[in-house]
Symmetry: C2
Subunit: 231 residues, 2 copies
C-alpha cells in the first residue's frame, strides 16, 4: 500500500472551502484542516462551520489547527475586521475592490499553512480561491498563486510544497454543481460577512453565493434574512 | 517641501535590524517600526531592544506596531519556539539548516508588514536580512526577496510596495562597520537566541555576531556569558 500524501486544506467554513475539501478528499490525500481566525465579524459562526465540515470528513482533532491572528484586525483597513467600516451591500457589476478586502490577507493564511506543511511533511495545500467571482480581491488572481508557489520553492527547506487551487477557474454555479456531485455538505457551510444566525442575503458573499445556486438551478439550503432573486 | 516616503522597518532588536533602521533613516524616510513576537525564547529581551531602538530613532508610539503570532510556536519545528528542541551550539562551517530555523518564518513577518503598509500607505519595507552570514536559512536568499516582491506586485491593491534588503550582501563585519559609520546604537541591540541577561556567546546568532565584530576590529559592547575568540 502506498502512503497517502498529506494535504492541508484551508477551511474558512464557506462553500468554496467545502468544495476544496471534497476535491482534496476525492484525490485520496491524508487531510489536515486549517482554519484561521483573523478577527472577522462572523468568526464564531465560521468556526462552527469549520468543525462541522471537519467532522463530516472525519478529520480527527489532532489533524485540525485553528490559528488566531489578532494583527489583521489591529491593522484594520477592512469592513470584515473593523466594526467602524460598514459592510457594503453587494454590487456584482462593480469593478472596484470592495470594503471587505483585507489587505494581503491570503498571504497570512498561506504562510501559516506552509509553516505547518513543513513541520508535518505535507506536500499539498488546498485553498478554495476563486478568480472570476472573487469580488476583485487581488489575492485571488492566478498569478498570485503562481508567485506564492515560487516563494515556497525558494523560501522553504523542503522546497516541494505546492498550493493547489482546484476551483480557481470555476464560477460559483460550477462550484455548487461540483460540490453537489461530490456529495459535499453545503448545508453545513457559512459564507455571510454580516450575520451569524441567518445569512443577511445582501453582502457580497451572500450575493455571489445566492446567484451561484440560482444559476446552478439549486436552492441554497441555509437560512437567509432576505433572499433576493438572482439569475 | 516634498512629502517623505513612509517606510516600515522590521525590527527584531538585533544588530542587523539596527543597521536596517539606520540605513532607512539615512534615506530620509518617515519611519514606522514593526516588531513581531512569534513565541521566540528571548522575546522579552528583544522587545526591550526594539523599544530602545525606536526611542533612539525618535519613532513615536503611534508609529510602532508589536504583533504577536502564537501559531508559529504552536506549529513548532524550531529550537527558537519549542523549548523541547535544544538551541545547538554554533558550527559556522556547517552547511546544514540549523535547529533554530523557523519554517517559513519571514513570510509571516513580511505579510504583516505588507498589510500594514497597504493601510498606512507605506511604499517601502526594510528588513535586515543577510545572505552570506545567514546560517543557511532558506528565507534569507536573494531570490526569496525577489519572489516576495513579485507576490506583493500581484497580490496587493496598491501593487507598488517594495521590500528593501539593504544589507543582504554584506558580511557581519561589514554590517558592524556600516552601522558604526551611521552612528547606529549597537549597544542597544540583542541577538542571542538563548540568554536574556547576558548573551550566551555560543549560539549561532552570538557566534556570527562576535565573529563580525572581531573581523571589523571592534569590540561588541553588550555583555556575554562566555566570549569565544573569533578571527
Amino acid at each position: 500500500m502506498t502512503q497517502q500524501t498529506r494535504a492541508i486544506v484551508l477551511v474558512s467554513g464557506g462553500m468554496d472551502s467545502c468544495a476544496a475539501i471534497a476535491i482534496a478528499r476525492e484525490a485520496g490525500h491524508d487531510l489536515y484542516a486549517l482554519h484561521i481566525n483573523y478577527g472577522q465579524r462572523t468568526e464564531a459562526r465560521e468556526l462552527i462551520a469549520f468543525n462541522a465540515l471537519a467532522d463530516f470528513y472525519e478529520i480527527p482533532e489532532h489533524k485540525r489547527l485553528v490559528a488566531s491572528i489578532a494583527h489583521l484586525a489591529a491593522i484594520g483597513g477592512s469592513s470584515l475586521t473593523d466594526s467602524n467600516i460598514p459592510v457594503t451591500e453587494a454590487d456584482l457589476d462593480s469593478t472596484e475592490i470592495p470594503t471587505s478586502y483585507v489587505p494581503f490577507r491570503n498571504a497570512h493564511l498561506l504562510s501559516i499553512a506552509v509553516s505547518w506543511a513543513e513541520v508535518i511533511g505535507a506536500k499539498k495545500i488546498y485553498i478554495g480561491a476563486v478568480y472570476e467571482d472573487s469580488s476583485g480581491y487581488p489575492d485571488c488572481r492566478p498569478e498570485y498563486y503562481a508567485a506564492f508557489n515560487q516563494l515556497i520553492k525558494v523560501g522553504t527547506a523542503a522546497g516541494n510544497i505546492q498550493i493547489e487551487t482546484p476551483i480557481l477557474y470555476l464560477t460559483k454555479d460550477q462550484i455548487v454543481t461540483r460540490a453537489l456531485t461530490l456529495n459535499a455538505p453545503l448545508h453545513l457551510t457559512w459564507s455571510c460577512y454580516q450575520g451569524s444566525d441567518k445569512a443577511c442575503g445582501l453582502c457580497d458573499s451572500c450575493a455571489l453565493r445566492l446567484r451561484g445556486f440560482a444559476r446552478a438551478g439549486q436552492v441554497d439550503p441555509i437560512p437567509y434574512e432576505v433572499r433576493p432573486e438572482y439569475q
